[in-house]
């Protein structure tokens, strides 16, 4: 992920890298962008900007390394630096604010959730999506990267420029917030969320 230029690709090599290594990830990129912006036009702009930057800086991409993580990092940075700055809508919670507010590795694992497995399994796609979309952008992001896109903690640390310990704790908090949302859906579905064994 170093920005150091390794070698210059020929025109033909550039096209090859772009078509074979970058373009196959466009579905994931668009879905990530859409979940960050909630707007089709903004998502299209963000993905287009990302691909143009990827092309412009193609020499800093080493062929055969993790193109998907490299592209996601560019998209995430574009979102923070360009899109959010232009957007009049303030972000719900700022990344820095979150890290300052919650000390990164000090996580409460005493999860005594009364959410039931069968209630979760019966949820509809829209309910899951809405619960995910209700989370602040930094929490939403780690869940998208981990669960929807299957990135490892190490890849996420590189994409988000944060330590692995912070990835782990942010992900844990994000899932707890998601469980709160799902629990309230479960209640409206009429599931008994009380622990029946007690």
């Amino acid at each position: 992920m170093s920005e150091v230029q390794r070698k210059k690709y020929s025109e033909q090599e550039k096209n090859h890298v772009f078509d074979k290594e970058f373009m196959p990830h466009i579905d994931s990129m668009y879905n990530f962008a859409f979940r960050l912006t909630f707007d089709e036009d903004d998502a299209k702009d963000l993905v287009q900007d990302t691909y143009l930057k990827a092309y412009r800086f193609i020499n800093s991409f080493e062929q055969g390394t993790n193109a998907k993580a490299w592209l996601f990092r560019i998209l995430k940075n574009s979102f923070i630096n360009d899109y959010r700055r232009k957007s009049k809508q303030p972000a719900k919670v700022d990344y820095q604010e979150v890290e300052t507010y919650y000390n990164s590795d000090d996580v409460d694992y005493t999860s005594t959730t009364d959410l039931r497995v069968d209630a979760v399994k019966d949820m509809l796609g829209d309910e899951i999506s809405n619960a995910l979309n209700s989370l602040a952008v930094d929490f939403r992001t780690v869940i998208i990267l981990a669960d929807l896109e299957g990135f490892t903690y190490e890849e996420m640390a590189k994409i988000l420029d944060i330590p692995i310990g912070t990835v782990r704790s942010r992900l844990h908090r994000a899932r707890n917030l998601l469980k709160d949302q799902l629990r309230s859906y479960a209640k409206t579905m009429g599931y008994n969320t009380e622990d029946e064994e007690e």
Partner: protein, 89 residues
Amino acid sequence: MEENLPMGEKKLSCADVSKCFQLLESILDGENVPNSQAMLQEKLAKCEPCFKHFHLEQAIREVLKNKCTKHCVPNELIANIREKIQEIK
């Protein structure tokens, strides 16, 4: 570390929830945890809170992965990107 309990009986409280849950979550997230399968089997067999936490966390990962609404890439996006790239070449 684990108490010896008769077959089929699980502890109703976990002695080290933080450590156990973090470990279970790392395993579910596909991280490289040494000896993970043996450790997992032991915990799930012997500890009720670990058993419940594992299955709920697993269910949440599954619905996120399989049910989250996907958005189709707009048709013109790929063409637009290729067009812009031609311009900057």
